[in-house]
């Protein structure tokens, strides 16, 4: 009797161990490789494939399932057995680039979900669709050279300039400190983001996208009711809602995702970011207009300085002031001095509320005298004609 129990229990333990072994040897990728072989002209040996690229710090096992990704002849019609679309792999051979440097995901993983990085505790999910364009900037710093291949990325950077983001955000040492530095916006850690109001999947790109579409919905701050008694409310984010179309928001998201902390080795760098072209115009007003755009004044003061951006709890109707009639209130010298000095903090509408999040930053060290003079000329011309004619001309 006792002996039987021993034998039985030992057998049970052995069975559990064999089950573990069986589960281990029948992993998802084994079935996928068998599916490939069933239809392949020449069967592949069963086993994990990996591409190791030491300079990029990559060990990618994606080819365990994507067996024909760089062999169009062996490719099949169905995923994951297709060949890589386009001729990208000619210029980006897999032995040199592996996969995740462009596509993200979890290269070390060997299950479909984990490999695509669409699992908890993996912060770089597969860059699906146009999102993959964000990776191009790692090596192609001069985006104009890849405009045909990464149109959304280029569009995103263009929008970034047009909307004047630089007026509040810094990027690689250029720009202001009103809000966060965006130099590594694409490498932000998920623990640093509040996903409470994000409707889509809880990823960085989704957060960025929804935040671009409606910043105040994603970052609404805290009302007094939500906070402990006596605590000051926290204003919603000061990021203006630019009424972006879906495509524009996506383009900006892709541009943000391209700003990563990953440094590729020098020999991988195809081009560096092109410096801003110098402003070439004789006309002082046109020159001033270019300065207005260059420093992102438009971000807060609006196109042509017409204002309209919200600034919670600021006097002047809780808005950033329009610049249209600026010459009525300032002499040119006073205006120059004001721009150079900035104005912080702004006066509060409700003295018990939070300080307005937007303020006029200090430009003294960032702008040249020449630029400042031209800018003031431009601002003086913003007023409608009837007042302009009455204004003294220098």
């Amino acid at each position: 009797m006792k002996r039987q129990i021993f034998v039985l229990l030992s057998l049970a333990t052995l069975v559990v161990f064999l089950m573990a072994w069986a589960a281990d040897s029948r992993k998802e990728w084994v079935g996928i490789q068998e599916r490939f072989n069933a239809r392949a002209a020449k069967p592949e040996p069963i086993g994990i494939r990996q591409i190791m690229v030491a300079p990029l710090n990559r060990i990618d096992r994606c080819t365990t399932c994507h067996l024909a990704i760089d062999r169009p002849k062996a490719a099949q019609a169905e995923q994951p057995f297709t060949a890589h679309p386009g001729d990208y792999l000619k210029s980006h051979p897999v032995e040199k680039f592996a996969c995740t440097v462009c596509h993200a995901g979890q290269g070390l993983a060997t299950t479909v979900q984990a490999g695509h990085g669409e699992v908890r505790h993996w912060e770089q999910p597969l860059l699906r669709g146009a999102l993959v364009q964000s990776s191009c900037a790692k090596c192609h710093g001069d985006l104009e050279t890849i405009k045909a291949y990464a149109p959304m990325l280029v569009r995103g950077r263009q929008l970034f300039k047009e909307e004047g983001c630089i007026g509040c955000h810094a990027l690689h040492g250029f720009g202001q400190t009103v809000s966060v530095d965006l130099s590594e916006a694409g490498s932000k850690n998920l623990h640093q983001l509040d996903m409470t109001f994000v409707k889509g999947p809880h990823t960085l790109s989704q957060w960025l996208y929804e935040h671009f579409k409606d910043p105040q919905r994603i970052t609404p701050g805290f009302t007094r009711q939500e906070l402990p008694q006596g605590e000051m409310e926290i204003a919603p984010t000061a990021m203006p809602n630019y009424r972006l179309t879906d495509e524009e928001a996506q383009a900006l998201t892709i541009y943000m995702m391209s700003l990563t902390d990953e440094q590729v080795p020098g020999k991988y760098v195809k081009s560096l970011a092109a410096p801003e072209p110098p402003i070439t115009t004789e006309n002082a007003v046109a020159y001033g207009r270019a300065v207005f755009d260059k420093y992102g004044c438009v971000g807060c003061h609006g196109q042509n300085g017409q204002g309209g951006r919200n600034n919670w709890n600021a006097v002047d109707g809780q808005q950033v002031p329009a610049l249209t009639y600026v010459k009525a209130g300032y002499t040119k010298e006073a205006l120059k001095a004001f721009i150079a000095r900035g104005s912080q903090p702004l006066a509060k509408l409700d003295p018990h509320g939070p300080s307005p999040s937007l303020y006029m930053p200090r430009w003294q060290e960032k702008i040249s005298d020449e630029e400042l003079n031209a800018l003031v000329e431009y601002l003086y011309r913003l007023a409608p004609d009837e007042t302009a004619s009455a204004a003294p001309t220098p």
Partner: protein
């Protein structure tokens, strides 16, 4: 087979035959280096599963499993910050049976911590630590501590966020060690030479800490633990088994077969567990991003929960030290000879009550810390959804130091006792009755003083009373405040009444406690009494401080921020 047994080779290996005779049964035990830690005969009652629950043996089996799986894991693991996490991923995705191996090691470690604790509880409840086995109990407490340390050092090795921050919680507690921790009270050290630095090899958890923990985990602590285990087992045999009734039977096969059975069962359960559940692995460790909440390993989460009520030098350093020393002291202060070798509550009511209370408190705190705490360490019911947007701020105040010191002093003076010799001397001069009255009066006075020192500062420190009375987290203060406002002019009188009644109750309680103290003193004598009453008061101070905070909104009883000394 028989011809095989006649060969020289066989005979050189096995020095006895395998017939089931009394002689070979003995030979099997004392002729075998591993089995000879056993006696050759054992009382039949000691074999009963419901007596030992096999807990000590199972702990050892788990230790053995951990060594085997641990050595296998070492083939795949490199303890550097750049490679450790990658090696974890390799184990999960590329190594044959890697996930199963890691699960076995992880769950085995959790199980060993649990069985070691339960083994201690079992030994306590059956009085198995009583003479002549006191010293082996001490060894057991050391082994339990080493088990915690082995598990804690191993916790860091996966190098994910869970590991990094759990270890950071522990290391920050070490930084609060009195005198030798940079942030502790009366610190005499800097961040570059305090105990935290010694522990981590740096000021934060990094490359050096990973290597240190790796060496401690894989070599140093298991080696020391193995030594202590050898002593522990040897002493089990030499000190004679605690249950000594009935006839004796041969260890081979009766005990050895049961040990084998327990081994197989343990392996079976652990295998099923490892097949069913995967060990956690979060994002790669990132020292710049703190997960909210960050929790210590489960067996230390009770201490982390205590951080809500105590400064880290108490919760993270003083408490565990006193617990370990207190446990070691148990066999030397327990003079009750009864209740050895059986579960006998009625013979050891006091000992059982105190020990089970402490154990329950320990596990209750672990439960709260594990299941009821979310982001910002806010309270969430188990299963409730967490929200990082929920922030509540408690209104808490410190008792003024003058009253706080009186309160603290009166509390610990409750342990004082008037020895019978003194009482006799007094009785000679004053007579029996007046002496008894005087002693009771002293007890009463001390108790009343404690009650008064608690209530007076709460009510008659104006800012204190108003602030806490209008807060939302000090129910008793709120009621008192409401009562006084409601009664108007009579309010002050009512307050005086309440303080008087509180003082009276504390006084009467102290008189009752005095009788208990006299009895305890009579049984234990000076030194043992001092140890027992000290530990008792310290243990009771934990729920007392918790209540002070939950009911009255008291943060510190005494506070000297300049030397970081707050209680």
């Amino acid at each position: 087979m028989n011809s095989l047994k006649k060969t020289k080779l066989w005979k050189s290996m096995f020095r006895h035959d395998f017939q089931d005779t009394p002689r070979t049964r003995l030979q099997r035990v004392f002729g075998n280096v591993f089995l000879h830690l056993h006696p050759v005969k054992i009382p039949v009652d000691a074999l009963k599963f419901t007596y030992t629950w096999g807990l000590g043996g199972i702990s050892f089996v788990l230790f053995f499993v951990l060594i085997v799986t641990g050595v296998l894991l070492m083939f795949y693991y490199r303890p550097t910050t750049g490679l450790a996490f990658r090696d974890m991923k390799d184990l999960e995705y590329a190594v044959t049976l890697g996930t199963f191996l890691r699960n076995m090691h992880r769950w085995g470690a959790h199980a060993m911590v649990m069985t070691a604790i339960l083994h201690m509880v079992r030994v306590f409840l059956t009085g198995a630590y009583k003479p002549p086995r006191e010293f082996n109990w001490v060894i057991g407490v050391i082994l339990l501590t080493l088990t915690f340390l082995m598990s804690y050092t191993g916790y860091l090795l996966p190098w994910d966020q869970l590991a990094l921050w759990a270890v950071t919680v522990g290391a920050n507690m070490a930084a609060n060690t009195p005198v030798l921790g940079n942030e502790g009270p009366f610190s005499i050290v800097t961040p570059l030479n305090d105990v935290k630095f010694v522990m981590l090899g740096g000021t934060s958890v990094g490359e050096a800490a990973l290597l240190r923990f790796y060496v401690m985990h894989c070599i140093a602590i298991p080696f020391i633990a193995a030594l202590f285990m050898a002593v522990h087992f040897w002493r089990v045999r030499k000190d004679v088994f605690s249950r000594q009734t009935g006839e004796k039977v041969d260890v081979w096969p009766h005990l050895v077969s049961r040990e084998l059975l327990a081994t197989i069962l343990t392996l079976l359960v652990l295998s099923i567990w490892s097949l069913a559940m995967n060990a956690p692995l979060e994002e790669m460790a990132n020292p710049t991003v703190t997960p909210n909440p960050s929790k210590a390993p489960w067996y230390f989460v009770g201490l982390q929960e205590l951080l809500v009520y105590f400064d880290p030098w108490i919760a993270g350093v003083l408490m565990p030290t006193i617990i370990v020393i207190g446990l070691m002291a148990i066999p030397y202060v327990d003079v009750n000879p009864k209740g050895v070798g059986r579960y006998a509550f009625t013979e050891r009511k006091f000992a059982w009550s105190i020990f089970l209370f402490g154990t329950a408190l320990w596990f209750a705190l672990i439960f709260i810390g594990t299941y009821c705490r979310g982001p910002n360490w806010e309270w969430y019911n188990p299963g409730q959804t967490w929200s990082i947007r929920r922030i509540s701020k408690l209104t808490l105040m410190n008792i003024p130091n003058f009253w706080g010191l009186i309160l603290l002093g009166a509390y610990f003076l409750q342990g004082m006792v008037i020895s019978p010799q003194w009482k006799q001397r007094c009785a000679v001069r004053l007579g029996e009755g007046p002496t008894r009255l005087a002693c009771q009066g002293l007890d009463f006075g001390l108790g009343a003083l404690m009650g008064a020192a608690l209530m007076i500062p709460l009510i008659w420190t104006p800012e204190f009373f108003r602030t806490l009375g209008q807060s939302r987290n000090a129910p008793l203060m709120q009621s008192l405040f409401a009562l006084r406002s409601h009664l108007g002019a009579a309010g002050e009188l009512a307050m005086v009444g309440i303080v008087t009644v509180t003082a009276l109750c504390f006084g009467l309680g102290a008189v009752g406690f005095g009788r208990f103290k006299d009895r305890l003193w009579g049984r234990l004598g000076l030194v043992k009494y001092a140890v027992v009453i000290g530990l008792l008061l310290l243990m009771a101070s934990v729920p007392a401080k918790i209540l002070l905070r939950l009911l009255f909104g008291v943060k510190y009883i005494v506070s000297f921020p300049t030397v970081s000394f707050n209680i």
